[in-house]
Amino acid sequence: MNKSDYKLRPDLAIIANNIEQDSRVLDVGCGDGALMAALRDQKNTDARGIEIDPANVSAAVSRGLSVVQGDADTDLSEYPDKSFDYAILSQTLQTTHRPDRVIDNLLRIGRYAFVSFPNFAHWQVRLSLSFGGRMPVTRLIPEKWYDTPNIHHVTIDDFRAIVRERQWIQENQWFLSGDKQTSKAGANILAEHAVFLLRKD
C-alpha cells in the first residue's frame, strides 16, 4: 500500500507520526487494525493488537494483523514487563472499568504509552450540560447516556492531575479541535481530543 492510502483518524495520525521505525507496538483497543496496518507498512513495526469486539478482531486478523480478542481491563496482566516499545490506548480509556490500572499496565508493558481520549471539558460539552441540562451528545461522544460505552468520562485537566499524582512522566502532549491540532493554551476548554505520550521511568 502507498503511504498516502492511509486516512488515519487524526489522533492515530499523531501517534503514527511519533512512533519510531522498527519498534514493537501493542495497540490496546485496536478496532479493525487501521493504525496497526499503517504502522506495519509505514514504520515496519511489529504491531500486536487487543480488541474486545469480535467482528473487529476478525476483520483485523483477516487483513493479516496479529490481534487477540480481549479486554483492556482484564487481559493486559498476561503481557510481560517492557515487552513492547509502545503501548497504545486510543479512545478506549473512557470505556475501561479502571482506567488508572489500565494505564499502569500500559506503562509496565511498554517503554512508552500513548493515551488518547475525548475531552469532557470541551466547551461544547460544557454548554450542552450547563444550558441544555442534558448529558452531552457531541461529535466525539455520540452515544446517549444509556447506551454509551464511555463509563469514565475524563477531562484534560483530570488527566494531567492523575499524571502528577501517579508520578508518571509526560513526554509529550497534542490537542485536537476538529481534525486540526490546537495549542496547549486553554486546551481543557478548546480541545476536543487529547493525545498524551507517557513513560514511567
Binding site: P54, V57, S62, S66, V68, G70, P80
Partner: protein, 371 residues
C-alpha cells in the same frame, strides 16, 4: 515433483523408525497412511500439515474409502479455499493409534503376524506428532508453512509448535485446548467403559470374530452429544417425535434426537475400530502440554518464532473459549505472536467442521500474511 511416488492420494509407507514413545517404549516399524494435495514447490516452503480429530482420518479432501463420503474438511481445503492445492502442498496424515492405515491396535504386529490388539503401546499426542515428523523426513519436508488442526488436531498442532518450533512457521489451533479437562476425561471414560462392557470386546482380542459394535456405538452416541450444543439440538430436533404422532409408551426411538443418535452410533462402527477409540481417547486424556515444560504452559512457547492463530466457538462447551484463552495467555506471556478470536456459531464443538465463512476468512488472512 508431481511424479514423486511419495506424493498423492491414499499413500502408505512403512518407516523403520524407531519411534521413541513417551511411555519409554520404542516402536517400530511405523506404518503411515497419508495423502498429499497440490505440489511441493522447489523451495519446499509451501507445505501445510492438516491434523485430524479423534475419529478423523487422512481423507481431509478426498472421498473416504469406507463411507464414500467426501473429504471432511472440504470447507477449508480446495481451489479458492483458504488452503488451496494450487498454491500449497497439503499433507494429511492418519495418526498412529488410528485404524485407517497407520499403525494402530488393529494393524498387524510384524513380530506375531497378528493384530496388536491391547499389545499396542499406549501412545500420546506428542508420540503422534513425532511419528508425523518421521514421515515428513521421509517426504523430504523440513519446514511447514503451517500446521493446522481442530479439536485433537489442535492438540497436535500445539505439540508440533512446542516440539519442533523450528519446523513450524505458522500454527492454527481451532476449538482445542492445551490440556484435556476433567469433564472431557470423564466423557471419554464413559465411552471406553461402554466398549469394554461389550462382551465381544474380549479384552481387545476380537479381530477374529465379531467386534464390540454395541459398545462402540454407545460410546459414539455419548461423545456425539458433546460435539453439539443445546441450542443446536433444540433447533434441529426439539422434542419432535420420529415417524409417529404419539409417544409409544415403550423404548423405541420415539424422539428424533434418539433416532439421530442411534444412527450416528450405528454408522460409526462401520468405519472405526473400538480399540483405536480406546487408544486415541487415552492419548487425548494424557494431553497436558505444560507437563513437559515444568508445569508452566508459557515455557512450551519459550523463544518461539512460530506465528499462532487460535480460534474458538462460543457454543463449544467441550473445548470452550476459556481453554483457547489459556493458550493465548501462555503465548503472550512467552512474548510470542498470536491472534485469537471467538466466533459465533450455534453448532457447538462441531462448528469447525461445518461451513464457517468467518473462520475461512481468518485462516485465509492469517496464512496470506505470513512473511
Amino acid at each position: 515433483m508431481n511424479q514423486d511416488e511419495r506424493y498423492g492420494l491414499d499413500k502408505n509407507v512403512r518407516l523403520l523408525g524407531p519411534l521413541t514413545l513417551d511411555s519409554g517404549a520404542k516402536f517400530a516399524p511405523i506404518e503411515c497412511a497419508y495423502e498429499t494435495y497440490g505440489t511441493l514447490n522447489s523451495d519446499k516452503n509451501n507445505a501445510i500439515l492438516i491434523c485430524h480429530g479423534l475419529t478423523g482420518d487422512q481423507y481431509a479432501a478426498s472421498t473416504h474409502p469406507v463411507t464414500g463420503k467426501e473429504g471432511w474438511w472440504l470447507n477449508v481445503i480446495g481451489e479458492g479455499k483458504p488452503i488451496d492445492p494450487r498454491h500449497n502442498f497439503i499433507i494429511s496424515i492418519n495418526v498412529i493409534g488410528s485404524c485407517l492405515g497407520s499403525s494402530g491396535p488393529s494393524s498387524v504386529d510384524p513380530s506375531t503376524e497378528k493384530p496388536y490388539g491391547m499389545k499396542f503401546p499406549v501412545i500420546t499426542i506428542a508420540d503422534m506428532v513425532r511419528a508425523q515428523a518421521i514421515l515428513l523426513d521421509h517426504l523430504g519436508i523440513k519446514t511447514l508453512a503451517a500446521v493446522i488442526g481442530g479439536s485433537m488436531g489442535g492438540m497436535q498442532t500445539l505439540s508440533w509448535a512446542a516440539q519442533f518450533p523450528e519446523r513450524v512457521k505458522s500454527a492454527i489451533i481451532i476449538a482445542s485446548a492445551a490440556r484435556q479437562s476433567a469433564q472431557n476425561i470423564a466423557f471419554h471414560e464413559v465411552g471406553r467403559q461402554s466398549i469394554m462392557a461389550d462382551p465381544r470386546w474380549n479384552k481387545g482380542a476380537y479381530y477374529d470374530g465379531d467386534a464390540p459394535t454395541s459398545g462402540l456405538a454407545v460410546a459414539r452416541m455419548a461423545a456425539h452429544i458433546t460435539y453439539l450444543s443445546e441450542t443446536g439440538l433444540t433447533q434441529k430436533f426439539g422434542r419432535r417425535l420420529q415417524d409417529r404422532d404419539e409417544k409409544s409408551f415403550g423404548f423405541d426411538a420415539d424422539f428424533q434426537i434418539e433416532s439421530y443418535l442411534r444412527h450416528q452410533g450405528i454408522s460409526f462402527v462401520d468405519r472405526f475400530d473400538a480399540n483405536s477409540y480406546l487408544y486415541i481417547t487415552r492419548a487425548m486424556d494424557y494431553f497436558d502440554l505444560a507437563d513437559d515444560y515444568g508445569g508452566t504452559l508459557a515455557n512450551a512457547f519459550k523463544d518461539t518464532q512460530t506465528r499462532f492463530c487460535v480460534i474458538s466457538f462460543d457454543s463449544d462447551w467441550l473445548y470452550p473459549t476459556s481453554e483457547s484463552r489459556r493458550i493465548v495467555h501462555a503465548i503472550n506471556a512467552a512474548g510470542g505472536n498470536v491472534s485469537f478470536v471467538e466466533l459465533k456459531s450455534p453448532f457447538g464443538h462441531d462448528s469447525f467442521l461445518l461451513p464457517a465463512p468467518e473462520m475461512n476468512e481468518i485462516i485465509n488472512g492469517f496464512l496470506k500474511a505470513a512473511p
